[in-house]
């Protein structure tokens, strides 16, 4: 099953809405709390990144019996150095964004921590795609 949500960059008041909507779906599916918590945290961080750093984006969540795949595609500046972006504490967030309580530089690292696999591809000047997979059962 697929769930699809659009997000607009800069709209901080709505940041988190997609994560909340997906949280409700995971509740309907009775997914174990420890698993759904990880999914929602990772998704929230990805959502906030589009709001904070890109112009617009789409989140697609694919659910099957085994796993939950999240694909976050955005149009935006892209990431020049992915390795550096992944570092805890690295952030290019503007002072205004920081003022709003975002931009601690932990987002990407948290997404990695809270998913079973994470893939980032980015074309500077065009946009970024982040793909996350979380297995419902512990996976070898």
């Amino acid at each position: 099953m697929q769930v699809r949500h659009k997000i607009s960059g800069g709209d901080f008041a709505r940041a988190g809405n997609v994560a909340s909507a997906v949280k409700k779906i995971l509740r309907q599916l009775n997914i174990e709390h420890s698993v759904s918590k990880r999914i929602v945290i990772a998704l929230y961080e990805g959502e906030v990144n589009v709001v904070a750093h890109a112009y617009s984006g789409v989140i697609e969540v694919d659910i099957d019996e085994e796993k939950i795949e999240t694909k976050i595609t955005d149009k935006g500046p892209g990431i020049l150095d992915i390795e550096q972006a992944m570092e805890e504490g690295f952030s290019t967030a503007t002072p205004q964004v920081r003022e709003m309580g975002f931009g601690a530089g932990m987002g990407l690292a948290n997404m990695k921590k809270n998913s079973d696999s994470m893939k980032i591809s980015s074309i500077p000047g065009e946009g970024t795609i982040v793909e996350l997979v979380t297995y419902l059962k512990p996976h070898a």
Partner: protein, 462 residues
């Protein structure tokens, strides 16, 4: 094991009086857990979704939702008749009425021993501190309001581990006074311990406690009923007899406990107090897990202004809060306020302080089996593509999404929606007479006939 509470039937103190119910949907739309449907023109409460918050009771325009209570006559089966009164009972009376007069009235009504529920709050505090120290889960959510505990069980089962499993003051006090009276030589079967309740949630909690084997409370008497009785006694002259048994343990902490922030003021860490079940729902629904982790303590209460706004409180809730705050100030000024607490050892924190297991009863779950749940979810979302999203209640369910859930659970059909009927008639897949039959089944025959007795109509007062 994990779902052990799920199939147990939950006691609810609220019931719909079918003869009075006019099937108006007011209750259905306000219920925070979508527990109400209309069938045959009458509201029906689904037991495993209801959390006893009383929103439906407040919303009913014809008082068709009633709160059960034990018969007052029942108290006379016991030679020793204790009434435990919460501070919000006294808070309803104007200041000029002395507490002792209220106590005397309660004695006239038939009680032999009168104690305040909040006499044990310092024990609750101590148990809470111990619990916070031992359990690292954050935030800890107060177990004080039973409607909130139930809301978490049915709607936010992932937060069950965050409930602070400490006995609330009513249970601590019931155990304490029962023990104390027993130790004074009164046989247990001669002690009747009654609780003057401000709400339906507390009744349900006494009748089917979560996380506790059995309540020490014998029965419940509704505060509004007692309030009227007390008023009657205060209005007539009566010869003052021997004052009832009581003790003098109430502190400013106890007076404030049941009001909003009554618990939070004792918290050392980061704590929030939220009252009103709508606010609580919105908060729990939208806060990110991460941000929630950074809060140490949550005091969540179902009623606006907490227990001063309980559905059985007749007095104005804002005035009740004001009076209690003034009363607390007076107590605080007393030298012994800090030392007003139990010291006699009849209550032991390790033995009496904590609640047992609280199980989840997730209402959102579409199926036990994951692939079945996934199929139902897909179907439910497809059905939502067709329903108009008006949330009008015309189908007998509170909103379109709930109807779609009912349908996939086999408890409803898409043709219940009056706008779907319109579409289906246009497409020749439903006949007019079928549509009429479906709608009559929901609203009852005759419900849609002309009737001028409703609010705003020609004969609204008849």
């Amino acid at each position: 094991m994990h779902d052990k509470n799920q199939n147990r039937d939950f006691h609810h103190a609220l019931t719909v009086h079918n003869d009075l119910c006019i099937g108006c949907t007011h209750c259905m739309t306000v219920c925070p857990t979508q527990a109400i449907r209309v069938r045959n023109g009458k509201a029906i409460i689904t037991a495993n979704r209801c959390v006893d918050c009383g929103e439906c009771y407040k919303a009913c325009p014809v008082s068709a939702i009633v709160v059960e209570q034990d018969d007052l006559e029942m108290i006379f089966k016991f030679p020793v008749r204790v009434i435990l009164i919460p501070s919000v009972l006294i808070g309803q009376f104007p200041k000029k009425i002395m507490t002792s007069s209220i106590y005397n009235a309660l004695k006239e009504i038939g009680f032999t021993h009168i104690y305040e529920v909040e006499n044990t709050v310092d024990m609750v505090l101590e148990a809470g501190r111990q619990y916070m120290h031992e359990q690292k889960e954050r935030p800890m959510i107060s177990s004080y309001c039973p409607a909130i505990v139930r809301l978490i069980q049915v709607k936010y089962p992932s937060l069950i581990g965050n409930i602070m499993k400490v006995n609330p003051p009513i249970d601590m006090s019931a155990m304490y006074y029962r023990e104390k009276l027993k130790m004074s030589g009164i046989p247990e079967d001669q002690i009747g311990l009654f609780y003057a309740t401000p709400c339906a949630a507390k009744i349900a909690a006494v009748k089917s406690p979560v996380g506790e084997i059995e309540s020490a409370v014998t029965g419940v008497i509704n505060i509004n009923f007692l309030y009227n009785r007390i008023l009657k006694f205060l209005q007539r002259k009566y010869t003052e007899s021997k004052p009832p048994e009581t003790d003098d343990l109430l502190s400013s902490r106890g007076i404030l406990w049941s009001l909003t922030r009554g618990e939070v003021i004792h918290s050392n860490g980061r704590a929030l107090a939220i009252d009103g079940i709508k606010n609580v729902n919105e908060f729990l629904e939208n806060i990110e897990n991460e941000k929630l982790d950074q809060i140490d303590f949550l005091e969540l209460r179902a009623c606006d202004e907490s227990c001063a706004g309980g559905i059985l409180i007749s007095g104005n809730r804002f005035l009740t809060v004001e009076r209690l705050k003034n009363r607390a100030e007076e107590y605080k000024a007393r030298e012994d306020d800090k030392n007003r607490k139990l010291t006699d050892g009849f209550l032991n924190i390790n033995e009496h302080g904590f609640l047992g297991d609280i199980g989840p009863r997730p209402m959102a779950k579409l199926d036990e089996d994951f692939s079945a749940a996934l199929k139902k979810l897909e179907r439910q979302r497809r059905i939502m593509c067709f329903l108009p999203g008006f949330d009008c209640g015309g189908c007998g369910a509170p909103d379109c999404q709930t109807l779609s859930e009912d349908i996939v659970q086999g408890n409803g059909q898409i043709s219940q929606c009056i706008f779907m009927q319109h579409q289906m008639i246009k497409q020749n897949v439903l006949s007019q007479s079928q549509a009429v039959r479906i709608t009559d089944k929901i609203w009852g025959e005759g419900r849609l006939e002309k009737n001028c007795n409703k609010l705003g109509a020609e004969d609204e007062n008849n």
